[in-house]
Amino acid sequence: MHTYTFHTVAHADACRAVTKGVLAILHEYFEQEDILHSFDLLLTEAISNCARHAYKDMDPGDVEIVLAVFPGMRVECTISDWGIGFSKTDINWINPTLSQPEAEGGRGLYIIASLSSAFRVTQEDGKNSIHATLEIPGELWTR
């Protein structure tokens, strides 16, 4: 297993920059554009979620991205913040569903869950984490 850890701040300007850094690492393992696009979208949504919601009415705080790469098998992505925590009332965190087509928001978590082979959220000691695992068939790995 190879583990990579990235830190950034929960701000809109930082979301894409750190995601592109993570993708540069993943490009060492995969060349297929559709696989890299899935990681790109999943990570952008998760980090953007922190920028939009985690530190609402607060100064932007830290975001941590941990990749655990199991070559030939899977990548486990964990995106964490130390903000206000996940809403317990209005979002289905276990099985996210799509909002109505006319709704402006409410698609980010659905995208993350849809792109993941396994998905869950945890809250522990003030650390709020989204865990997303992507199983990648062995023949698609280049490393």
Partner: protein, 114 residues
């Protein structure tokens, strides 16, 4: 770097956007387009997405909001030649039939008389 070019032909506003439609850029683009449409008579908004390298749920939400606003005013939004990445994300959130998608400039001319 994101670039935006807008051309008004009659009442059709053709917008070419190149770059990424994300949390960072979507609200700015939306504000610019709404300000432009407030200042001009626009019946049809056509957004060329062929040079959009990446779109996330914020970008999708911006397009949905534009369409909702235009439709409520009996106007139209068309997406022109979405890039493969944009098509993939639109399909992922099941909005392929929500948006009116045009494949070429000829389709624009065929649908919009002016």
């Amino acid at each position: 770097m994101d670039t935006l070019k807008a051309t008004l032909n009659g009442t059709t506003l053709l917008v070419h956007f190149a770059g990424e439609l994300t949390l960072r850029s979507s609200s700015t683009l939306r504000e610019k387009l709404q300000n432009y449409m407030d200042a001009h008579t626009v019946e049809h908004l056509v957004i060329d997405l062929s040079q959009v390298e990446f779109i996330d749920s914020s970008g999708i939400g911006m397009l949905v909001a534009l369409k909702t606003r235009l439709t409520s005013n009996h106007k139209s939004l068309f997406l022109l030649s979405p890039s493969p990445q944009v098509q993939s994300t639109i399909a992922l959130v099941h909005l392929g039939s929500f948006f009116q998608i045009l494949d070429s400039d000829d389709d624009v001319l065929a649908i919009i008389p002016d």
